[in-house]
């Protein structure tokens, strides 16, 4: 996604090496994707579903979808 748009930053973080930082997001099962510090997705999702979930951080752009989304713990 970062390749497609300059607004996207995509980080891969090795959770064991950055245990303190990972704890902030309550990382237990991996992969865990945290989006704009607002929502998180656990596990690997098919592309279309992943994008749909990720874009929920921008409710205006997705037309106000609501869905079951795990929120990130701080």
């Amino acid at each position: 996604m970062a390749l497609e748009h300059a607004q996207v930053t995509a980080d891969v973080i090795e959770a064991n090496e950055f245990a303190g930082y990972s704890e902030r997001y309550a990382v237990q099962a991996v992969p865990k994707t945290v989006v704009n510090d607002q929502l998180s997705l656990v596990g690997a999702l098919p592309e279309a579903r992943f994008v749909q979930e990720v874009l929920k951080v921008f409710p205006d752009d997705t037309g106000g979808d609501t869905g079951e989304t795990e929120t990130a713990s701080r």
Binding site: M1, A2, L3, E4, H5, A6, Q7, V8, T9, A10, D11, V12, I13, E14, A15, N16, E17, F18, Y21, S22, Y25, V27, V30, P31, K32, T33, V34, V35, N36, D37, E47, A48, V51, Q52, V54, L55, V57, F58, D61
Partner: protein, 162 residues
């Protein structure tokens, strides 16, 4: 002693020769670029391993250019890439005249924190190839969905080596 086995190096070299197109910058931030491990420092030894691994990878293609920086010696550079923890690798297309956007970026940013081992090494290789080709393998639907993006989107994927 190499981190990559000889047969893996050969396979990667061949793959890069075939699939890499434009040049790629690998911008690595490690605290001890000299490779010296200083007892008492809290930075794990992965800094040395990451550097060695990336040196081996970059040596496999003339299109891969590795730069190593110490974030403590070059804090403004670390700030420019918004690097707050390390070791950290930023993968960028080598400047090819791409026009930056309002935030001064020409493309999105791909970064790896920690040692890209196991499955993540495969991810790293795929990312190098994709950046080199300046295109992703996403579907048209995804590209359309992203086209209207106006605000920053920060994805942090936490992984463990498998």
């Amino acid at each position: 002693m190499s981190l990559l086995r000889a047969e893996d190096q050969a396979a990667l070299r061949a793959r890069f020769a075939q699939e890499l197109e434009g040049p790629v910058r690998l911008v690595l931030f490690v605290r001890e670029p000299s490779g010296l491990y200083l007892p008492g420092h809290d930075e794990p030894a992965t800094g040395r391993e990451v550097r060695q691994l990336l040196e081996e990878v970059a040596a496999l293609s003339p299109r891969l250019h590795l730069e190593v920086h110490n974030p403590l010696v070059e804090p403004s550079l670390a700030r420019q890439y918004e690097i707050a923890r390390w070791p950290a690798l930023v993968i960028l297309p080598d400047s090819d005249g791409a026009q930056p956007d309002a935030a001064g970026r020409a493309t999105g940013r791909i970064r790896f924190f920690g040692l890209p081992a196991g499955y993540e090494f495969a991810t790293l290789v795929e990312d190098l190839i994709d950046v080199s080709r300046r295109r992703s393998r996403l579907s048209e639907g995804t590209r359309r969905a992203l086209a209207s993006l106006r605000s920053p989107l920060h994805l942090q994927v936490f992984v463990t080596p498998t």
